[in-house]
Point group: C2
Chain length 318, copies 2
């Protein structure tokens, strides 16, 4: 019902608002008066412009705030690099901060033209990062999915994530047109072995950059909550020794895939291939994810880590 609250949400209007507010520093009531609309409209419009990523705040050296944590992470886990943003300790979803940190990391690399193809999975973190990215036109770049998608139309579906990121960057994209999990191991193997899938997965494995996310086994994980096949529960996985997932594959505390059918029904780049990839970064934060992250970093599954200060402290604490 409450679908289109702000009706006059044309880009032109929003750009006007943004200009008058952020560039000229006019007050919302002044703008409302000048444009002949209500202050409410202005207020909502400005919010909308930010939410849509039409205006972004860029920061000169965003990672200057946590230099020490970054250095200690690199040292401790033998990483190539680490980037840590500052979390809002009040809000319980650290996605905001990590998303922004991931975006700044991507901006750096994109400015250097460091990657010809980028592999992504899914999740709120990436979704947030996309919005914080500056729109570009990079027709040479290709965004590839590292993993299948869910059937249900979740907004952070892999298909959507790859498409949105590609659109933001003016790049091409390709996905793995399959569910994350097949009903049976046989079906998954058959599909993965077929020509087009084989080639697509290979393309994913050859991406210049892979952006990984991870989830734990709690209800806070979207994969656990909505993405698991009907016949598998989080309890099953915990009993089999899992602490969380990477690319839909469930890993134990040492970062090894657990011995459970679900790991053989998955469609995506196998975790075992990650160490051979060119550049793999893990973007994850939240106290509940600390064990999973530590497992994955310990197993050498990522070259770089992007997280927030709270998570970084916890990772270093043990």
């Amino acid at each position: 019902m409450a679908s289109g609250i702000v009706s006059e949400d044309s880009e032109e209007f929003l750009v006007q608002l943004a200009w008058l507010y952020f560039v000229d520093g006019m007050t919302q009531s002044e703008i409302a008066e000048r444009l002949g609309v209500t202050r409410l409209r202005v207020n909502r419009g400005i919010g909308l412009a930010r939410a849509r990523g039409l205006v972004r705040v860029e920061m000169a050296s965003p990672f200057a705030a946590a230099l020490d944590l970054q250095a200690r992470l690199v040292e401790r886990f033998g990483l190539r690099f680490a980037r840590v943003g500052l979390a809002d300790r009040g809000a319980d979803d650290g996605h905001q901060a990590v998303g922004a940190a991931l975006a700044y990391f991507l901006e750096e690399g994109l400015a250097r033209n460091a990657w010809g193809s980028i592999g992504v999975s899914w999740g709120l973190t990436i979704e947030n990062a996309i919005r914080a990215l500056k729109p570009r036109s990079l027709p040479e770049l290709e965004v590839v999915s590292l993993i299948g998608g869910t059937v249900s139309g979740l907004r952070f579906n892999t298909f959507g994530v790859a498409a949105n990121l590609a659109q933001r960057l003016g790049a091409r994209h390709s996905v793995l047109p399959a569910p994350i999990y097949f009903e049976t191991q046989a079906m998954a193997e058959a599909v993965m072995a077929s020509r087009p899938f084989h080639e697509q997965i290979r393309k994913a494995e050859e991406a210049d950059l892979a952006i990984l996310v991870t989830g734990d086994l709690s209800d806070r994980s979207f994969l656990v909550r909505d993405g698991l096949p009907a016949d598998v529960t989080a309890e099953d996985l915990a009993r089999a020794g899992a602490v969380g997932d990477l690319l839909g594959q469930f890993l134990d505390a040492e970062g090894r895939p657990i011995d459970h059918p679900i790991n053989r029904r998955v469609v995506g780049v196998p975790v075992a291939r990650l160490p051979a990839m060119r550049e793999v970064v893990l973007a994850a934060a939240g106290p509940h994810k600390v064990p999973v992250i530590r497992a994955q970093l310990g197993a050498g599954l990522a070259h770089g880590l992007i997280t927030d200060d709270v998570t970084a402290e916890l990772l270093l604490a043990a």
Copy 2:
């Protein structure tokens, strides 16, 4: 209170503030509490971070708001392009809006690598634009002064402008090490004819982009207020038919240099050479500048115009 709190205006502190405020959306009091400083400090720090250009708001398609005005300016004055920002009609100095517009224009071109060298003069507008620019590293780029500088240490002195812009862009720069006006015509001619000056001016004339500003004859013009030689007054110039200046040279209502000694005592690229330059843009706004701008555009002294909506309307009104 914690021990190692960075309580000065260090970049690290400001970046922390900016991150917590703009990325995490925390309130100023929350930030103050978390960092163990007073809210006042946070408030001022955030302002400082903006003023220093440490955080910038970028906007997706900044010139979408005034498409029609731009088209009409191009049509009316036979320009290659026009960019118009939205002025705050309350504030009487339009420098904010034009500065931002100029910055967006430069961002466009810099992203395309459109220029190998950029010529600048001086003024508040350019100063504002520099702060709104994203820092870069373009060691191949050279910023050159199109004009001499003032003796007094005005902060928008040409020398400073060229140096600041170059620093922001990570570029080299060179200036015309002379005052704008010499005491006598003979001195000016002698200097301009000397080898190093001759070469420097030639380099300026060959710049890929020239950014011009202009002033009228009122007290609002910094050149008139502080930059004129002691023996010349604005009244003299007005009597000689001047309506304003371009590169320190005073022009009449048709855009022709007036016949007055001051125009022969100036150190800089002669206005007459502008039409032969590759790309010349005039960045100027304000109702009081309308006659000068119109004169200059009428005489074909610029290929492009960067201004604000108020000025654009007035230019088109006549």
